[in-house]
């Protein structure tokens, strides 16, 4: 007969006990893991947004210039004042124009990269699109200021080519024209398009790559011309990518306050208005109301994009 040998269990350290606790209560682990990111999102991110929203319902006392902490819609009504409403229209208009410009320029580039570029060329293409993103945003904007200035290379080149009449005619256009490219809306638009273009090309290219070759072949087999294939097959299938890209270009333009300060006619965009109003003016309610506008515009934009299927491929 064999004697009993006592079974010695290994000593349990605090780590083991913790593991056991998590094994018995798996939801506890989940809570612990999710708490930091949720706190970040909830308190730091949404909390500051809520604070902003709250501020926008306050108003500034006309007499003393102090913020009155009582709920009112007066500040939002001030957004409708002509000079303020101009800022909203100007910014949204510029964002729309930039998005359109980006889409038109990016499509052929993205199409080529997605369907024709192979191997080394594909790598070169990626590098070409990404490269501008590696240098400082400010450096690029200042460089553009020099390129577009009255005595800059564009003027020089048009003069040399004998086309200065064309440039002058463009600059003489009402509203979008100006003293030189760098002090006109055209210049602001060019720089915006340049700076945000990669954000349009990349999602567009991803969408175009997903269009199956077989569908294009089927379209051709059924007798569609190349233009018909583009219009009826490629464009609808690539649309989600275009819209995804447009979300970037549109929202980035809405919020930018550096480009219009360096290039353009000094007329304010929303970002600059927020910066000015919250600063020396101490008009934080109006600044907050201005800041709410891009949020509202983007919510509408995203709702539309969702209906167009921009998020289906996520």
């Amino acid at each position: 007969m064999m004697g009993f040998r006592p079974v010695t269990l290994p000593v349990r350290g605090p780590g083991d006990r913790l593991t056991a606790l998590f094994w018995r209560r798996p939801d506890l682990l989940l809570v612990l893991l999710l708490a930091p990111p949720l706190l970040w999102l909830g308190v730091v991110y949404l909390g500051s947004l809520a604070a902003l929203l709250l501020q926008s319902f306050y108003s500034i006392d006309e007499f003393s210039g102090l913020v009155v902490q009582e709920f009112t819609l007066k500040t939002y009504l001030e957004l409708l004042r002509p000079s303020n409403f101009d800022i909203l229209l100007r910014t949204v208009g510029m964002a729309a124009a930039v998005t359109l410009g980006c889409a038109v320029i990016a499509f052929p580039i993205a199409y080529y990269a997605a369907r024709y570029a192979r191997g080394r060329w594909k790598a070169a293409f990626y590098l070409g699109v990404m490269l501008p993103l590696w240098s400082s945003y400010l450096v690029k904007v200042y460089a553009w200021k020099l390129i577009l200035s009255k005595e800059g290379i564009v003027t020089w080149a048009t003069d040399a080519a004998g086309a200065s009449a064309v440039l002058n005619a463009v600059l003489a256009l009402p509203v979008i024209g100006g003293n030189s490219l760098s002090t006109s809306y055209i210049g602001t638009w060019i720089v915006f398009v340049y700076v945000w273009l990669p954000y349009m090309i990349l999602p567009m290219q991803a969408a175009l790559e997903r269009v199956p070759q077989s569908m294009l072949e089927a379209s051709a087999d059924l007798g569609a011309t190349r233009a018909q294939t583009l219009r009826r097959v490629i464009l609808p299938l690539a649309l989600p990518g275009v819209i995804a890209g447009s979300i970037f270009t549109f929202s980035l333009t809405l919020g930018d306050y550096i480009i219009p300060q360096i290039i353009g006619s000094s007329r304010l965009f929303i970002g600059q208005a927020v910066y000015t109003l919250q600063g020396t003016a101490g008009n934080i309610p109006l600044a907050a109301a201005f800041a709410v506008v891009p949020i509202a515009v983007m919510l509408v934009y995203l709702a539309l994009a969702k209906r167009m299927g921009a998020f289906d491929a996520l």
């Binding site: 007499f63 101009d86 800022i87 009255k150 100006g178 304010l268």
Partner: protein, 385 residues
């Protein structure tokens, strides 16, 4: 003028109600080994940007107070940093100083502890932007005018009036000034317009460009709307403005002596002048934080700021004027009487220093247009409204 300003400030002090009776330092002890200063870029140099410009190293050697500088780009940033705390001194301009005093972020200065106090320009000693009810809340640091810069190839003689930037006209080179002049991209530029009107439309009765009633204010805005047609781009950043003079064909603009000196150093054909209407200007003050952790080092620095080569070399570096006029002549640094004259030392009386416009002014309670309206209306003017 001075009495009016004093009146205005006293009125402001009255709204702010009781100015806190913070106890001021009674005696300077040994240095605490450290000093934290909030300053404008270029104001505290230790020879790292340019070897010739150093007014910190010797102070650190003599007192053992290690100087840490936090640069701020706007007066608002300065006020915000001082509100956060952790700093001993700030080089506050006239638009920040009264706010700091009203907000109780700075403490009164015991001028008896600063041996060189007597050397301070008498015109600055009781200046209303840092003196409230006879109590000094700082030590003058530097001041300067907002001059009119012009291209000497276009203007053979200095322009005598600010009208080159306000009224459409043919410049000496035969072309219009349209699109070739600039104005400052800050609401305070309304004061420049008011000062222009003060001279040309005396019937408006403007007594201070920072205290405008509704009618005077409206006249100033109308003048600025007219200016909008002449200005391609308003200037905001000193270096962008210099670039606009070089590459954008701008030939005249209000500016700081800083840009004039830098452009001249590059041999670019510009000069500056203070036209017949006078000019606006800035005057900065070293102010001591109410909860300064290193008050002894701060007092030692304030004395240093007045007595050392700082006043002289900084004036050269920044294109400004020393708070101690002797620095122009006694050779303590690189400053010469000629540079002082060029920087506008003799034009003190023609300069109306920057102050925050408030609703209560010398014209009465609530008679003047407050600053926040200047901001929103100037946005409208630039936007073409």
């Amino acid at each position: 003028m001075q009495t009016l300003k004093l009146l205005g400030t006293s009125a402001l002090a009255a709204i702010v109600a009781v100015v806190p009776a913070v106890a001021q330092v009674a005696a300077i002890g040994p240095g605490e080994g450290q000093l934290n200063i909030v300053a404008w870029a270029g104001y505290i140099e230790r020879g790292e940007t340019d070897k010739a410009f150093d007014w910190v190293t010797r102070f650190e050697e003599a007192t053992g107070c290690k100087v840490n500088v936090k640069t701020a780009a706007t007066s608002d940033e300065m006020v915000a940093l001082m509100n956060e705390g952790g700093f001993d001194l700030v080089t506050a301009s006239g638009d920040a100083s009264l706010r700091l005093i009203a907000g109780k972020r700075v403490q009164p200065i015991n001028t008896a502890l600063i041996p060189s106090w007597g050397a301070v320009d008498p015109r600055l000693q009781d200046a209303p932007w840092y003196t409230v009810d006879g109590v000094h809340y700082g030590v003058p640091y530097m001041w300067g005018p907002n001059v009119l810069m012009y291209n000497t190839e276009v203007f053979k003689d200095a322009p005598t009036s600010w009208n080159v930037v306000f009224e459409e006209q043919t410049l000496p080179d035969g072309a219009s000034n349209k699109g070739r002049v600039q104005a400052y991209d800050g609401p305070i530029h309304i004061a420049d317009a008011a000062q222009y009107l003060m001279f040309h439309k005396p019937d408006l009765g403007i007594t201070s460009p920072y205290e405008l009633n509704e009618d005077q204010y409206k006249a100033a805005l109308d003048l600025l709307r007219q200016q909008r047609d002449l200005v391609g781009r308003y200037w905001h950043d000193a270096f962008i403005q210099m670039d606009d003079f070089k590459n954008e064909g701008v030939v005249a603009s209000g500016t700081w002596p800083f840009q004039v000196n830098l452009l001249r150093a590059e041999k670019f054909p510009v000069a500056s002048t203070i036209p017949q209407e006078g000019a606006t200007g800035w005057a900065d003050t070293s102010m001591l934080h109410a909860d300064a952790e290193h008050p002894n080092c701060a007092y030692l620095w304030m004395e240093h700021s007045l007595s050392s080569n700082l006043q002289s070399d900084l004036a050269v570096w920044f294109g400004a004027n020393p708070a101690v006029p002797a620095a122009c002549t006694d050779g303590r640094g690189m400053l010469t009487p000629e540079i002082c004259t060029a920087n506008g030392l003799d034009d003190f009386d023609r300069i109306r220093f920057w102050t925050t416009p408030t609703a209560n002014c010398a014209q009465g309670e609530g008679a003047c247009v407050p600053y926040y309206r200047w901001v929103s209306d100037y946005i409208g003017v630039i936007g073409g409204r």
